[in-house]
């Protein structure tokens, strides 16, 4: 029997199929990113938008101004502090929950399902929920902490204090993100072979030894992906900061996202906003690159 072939070659058909996705990505992501890189070296304000005139070169003024006023270093500090804090606790708590839920017990299925709820709450609404819990006069946490401290701390106002505001937002971020981390780690735990674990138990390995010598190595690829997703997500966090503190009090929660949004869309100085996002992206690429380089894993499965 003669074999039939398709009229269109593989090459052209596969290319045609990618056209819509390519167009969307190039027009609405790649080109805008390149254009905002260019704008970061220009004086580009609201006048340019109205008149449609291109921006004018301003000799790195956007950058020098942001560094002189110490805004970029501060935003970098807040961003990195937030990312590290959230990722550390997200991983520890998510791992603890995944290990507990990995065993079958009465109700384990129910808990695996209901623990996802915070993940589906819209980000702005999670901000509202936590603002209400943190409310300085009638909030639940004020009451909770005053009981925990036996009446020592009675004036807790997490989001109004420059020293604790960033931590308050981090708690809200943890609340929303722990479910997904747990879900992915739970899926990873399915790949750990039961027979290896049983053999180790028979050979006398304790729970801690089994965790570090068997579970962690098998889980490593999933851990790597989970953490790199979390780095990117928290590096870019905007709505929680914007609803909960707006960058305050006293600029103590101004991260890259807030700084660039304020420069570009509140002060309507788009060139300066673009300079912030450029520094932000460079930093993100460096950190993600270093992470990928130093966190190499072997795929055991």
């Amino acid at each position: 029997m003669k074999k039939k072939y398709q009229k269109l070659s593989d090459n052209s058909y596969s290319f045609v199929l990618t056209i819509p996705a390519t167009l969307l990505t190039v027009v609405f992501i790649i080109v805008p990113i390149i254009q905002s890189l260019i704008m970061s070296f220009q004086k580009y304000g609201v006048k340019n938008i109205i008149s449609g005139k291109p921006g004018t070169w301003n000799n790195f003024r956007n950058y020098t101004k942001l560094f002189e006023s110490n805004q970029i270093p501060e935003a970098a500090y807040h961003t990195i502090w937030f990312v590290l804090f959230v990722i550390m606790f997200q991983f520890l708590i998510g791992m603890a929950l995944a290990l507990v839920l990995n065993k079958e017990f009465k109700g384990s299925r129910f808990f695996r399902s209901i623990m996802m709820t915070p993940w589906v709450v819209p980000t702005v609404i999670s901000g509202l929920i936590w603002m209400w819990l943190f409310q300085p006069q009638y909030g639940f946490t004020k009451y909770f902490i005053s009981i925990l401290s036996f009446g020592q701390v009675t004036d807790l106002a997490i989001l109004n204090n420059p020293r604790t505001a960033l931590g308050g937002i981090a708690v809200a971020a943890l609340w929303k993100q722990i479910p997904l981390t747990t879900l992915l780690l739970l899926a990873g735990l399915q790949n750990v072979p039961k027979s290896t674990l049983e053999a180790a138990t028979i050979d006398g390995a304790g729970a801690i030894r089994r965790f570090f010598s068997i579970i962690i190595p098998y889980l490593a690829p999933v851990i790597k992906i989970t953490i790199s997703m979390a780095i990117i997500e928290n590096f870019k966090q905007f709505p929680l900061f914007w609803t909960m503190t707006g960058g305050g009090p006293n600029g103590s929660t101004t991260n890259f996202a807030i700084l660039s949004y304020r420069e570009a869309f509140v002060s309507m100085n788009l060139g300066s906003g673009a300079a912030v996002t450029t520094m932000w992206m460079i930093m993100m690429i460096v950190i993600v690159g270093l992470y990928q380089k130093y966190f190499k894993v072997q795929d055991l499965s």
Binding site: K4, Q6, K7, N11, Y13, S14, F15, L17, T18, I19, P20, A21, F28, I29, V31, Q35, S36, M39, I49, G52, A96, L97, F111, S113, I114, M115, T117, P118, V120, V121, T123, V124, I125, L128, I129, W132, Q135, Q137, Y138, Y143, W175, P179, L183, L184, P221, I225, T226, M229, F238, W242, T243, F256, S260, A264, F265, L270, A274, T277, W280, M284
Partner: protein
Amino acid sequence: MKKRLPTILKFIVLALIMLFLLFPIYWMLITSFKTNMEAYLYPPSFFPKTVVLDAFISLFSENNEFFVYYFNNFLVSFISALITCFVAIFAGYSIARFNTKWSKTFVAILLSSQMFPIISRMISLYSMMSNMGIINTRLGLILAIVAAQVPFCCLLLSSFFINIPREIEEAATVDGASRNTILFKLLTPLVTPGILAVGIFAFLKTWDDYLHAATLIQSDNLRTLSVGISLRYLGELSYDWSLINSISVVGTLPMVLVFFFFQKYMVKGLVAGAVKG
């Protein structure tokens, strides 16, 4: 005795973490059923003394601008999810099935464009869309949002296409089926779980959008949920917390329903997308 202690410890860990995850939801629910007088009680009450629907009634009567944002959010999320699904079917199949030079570049473009912050795009899209005349329109908003979902969704769906054996396609080719017939009539039904995962994921992500709408939409009657809530109901000195909590309940409800109804597909999709993508 030796076995009991770790078990107790495990349940304490489980109880503490679950409390952290679920108590805020409970707190939102009971506050929305309290009177404002009771919401402002200190120390707070853990069960509403009198269950009232005041906050919901005021939401439906006086503060019903909320439902304009709500409707817009549904519309934008639904259309964005639909378009994303189509784009992802084409591109996902192409990535999974063909190994051409272009497809390697294409995957690299998709992977790298997931990383860029939205604000960086919006700074130039704002002026670009002004020039194109689609700023402050639903069309512009949907296009910008779909573009943001496309990279992850294409990679996600390709991980479903890759599991279909090639013999199916080869047999259909021998029978004289055209390429489009193979893709749309034969293969697409086979990846229905993947398409559902992509659709729900795109819907959830768009429902959650803040930045696209905050920068591209200026008219109040086109605003979507997140921006509408934060512009209209926040920022005053005294917040009406019962009302805000009732808004939170109504704004979250569709997501909870969608997620728990399609949980099976979502969980599979998220795991596949994250691990392959």
